[in-house]
Amino acid sequence: MLTVDKLTKVYKTGDKALTDVSFTVPKGQVVGLIGPSGAGKSTLIRCVNRLVEPTEGTVRLNDLDITRLRAGELRRARRRIGMIFQEYALVERLTVMENVLSGRLGYVPFWRSFTRRFPGEDIAKAFRLLDRVGLSAHADKRADALSGGQRQRVGIARALEQDPELLLVDEPTASLDPKTSRQIMRLIVEICRESGLPAIINIHDVVLAQQFADRIIGLQAGRVVFDGPATGLTEAVLTQIYGEEDWTAMRQAAAEDEAAEAEQRDEAKKMMRAL
């Protein structure tokens, strides 16, 4: 369980990125964090594992106050928090396997990671995760040889390799096409459901958020302006978060995309059966 209480972040420049943000994520819940760019979504997610130092407030993960930890303790806390990044953030010149294994860095001593001699169960786990995200054939390829969707799958495997108790997901679909975006979102949500993993997914695409998240938190200029089930996102709420926009048209377009994709899937199934 993650508890964020009165979190405030003021950057050195004086920009106030977050103001009094409070919420609780129970086990197994997938939270979609929406808001226009500059609303502080990315800062909020990074305050949770302290890639960005919060100015005030507390973040507690299962009764551990992350904001008070010193460097060594913070590292041990970080390994329990998996993170999936915008633009994948894989180490491009390492192999897929090394990227997945890098999720174990917090658990192994330096000499093991330096010589790439990870414990057997870590390696088996990495192979299983690669299988789970559908990339078992690509383990020895270099990360920069993969396509966007494949790279994000490696990113997911890396985060899961950490045995996380919480998943932080930062704009996972930012550079993917609509179809791959949905596949990636579906994969993340499925995995969270399978293991009761709580997740905060920071996403600018409202329609995707509604489709996949149990709960939506809307940020606007660093403040929580909406917190409720996805069905509660009415036109008025969205307008409050994003300003005027033709929401109906956007939803329709997305629904058409989805329908087309479903149709394709059916077609493919039919063909498979025919064969």
Binding site: E98, G120, A124, K125, R128, R142, I191, E194, G196
Partner: protein
Amino acid sequence: MTDTAAPVSPGVSPGPYPTRWKRPPQMIKSRFWRYALAIGALVWLVLALGTIEVNWQRVMVGMERGQRFIAGFLQPDFTTRWRDISTGLIESLTMTLTSTVVGVLISIPIGIGAARNVAPGWIYAICRGIIAVSRALQEIIVAIFFVALFGFGAFAGFLTLTFATIGFIGKLLAEDIEDIDESQAEAIRATGASWFQLINYAIQPQVMPRLIGLSLYRLDINFRESAVIGIVGAGGIGATLNTALNRYEYDSAGAVLLIIIAIVMISEYSSGYLRRWVQ
């Protein structure tokens, strides 16, 4: 939910997946060549280290000198030899500036001639030849010849640096011209412009900032080189340094070195600043 996937939860048994993984070799795929290269490198290292002959007695004597040099470097003496130092410095600085200006002026036509997209074949061959010769010959070797021909002093140094500048600027300028945006050149050609107008309107605006940047960079290099070619008699601060070291006057040598470092630092920062301002 998919039923094919194994449940993902912490601490699950490894299952049928492999527990060993080795990073595949990245550069040299063949095992034979990897070992052959490693052994070859080792053999070479042993042989090469074996050729080093150290006369420890000489080193012991030298250590004392080294200490004196470090002391001289920490407590440089600018005053005793100030006349020599200032003459050498002025020679170096004037040599640097004049050789860069003349070198750049000569290298512009050569650079244009060595660009495949604007020069006819035979001119291209000649200009590339000039550049290759200038680049292949060491400054020091060129300086030796110019000193032999023109006598000791700054003029030989000036010619050396000019010659080296031609190769450096000529090559980079030619590459820049070859890299220009062809569509702009095409647009100018389409207006019926002559060859000179083409150079003036399509090439010059695109390469001018780079040319100024390169010239400033070369100014920097020429100063550093001017400190070296003095050793073989081509004037400048290198001659002063050489004299000081030959007389074992390490405090004066330390002063010269500090001046060289200071000027290089200043010129590097200011030329970096100027280049940013120009571009």
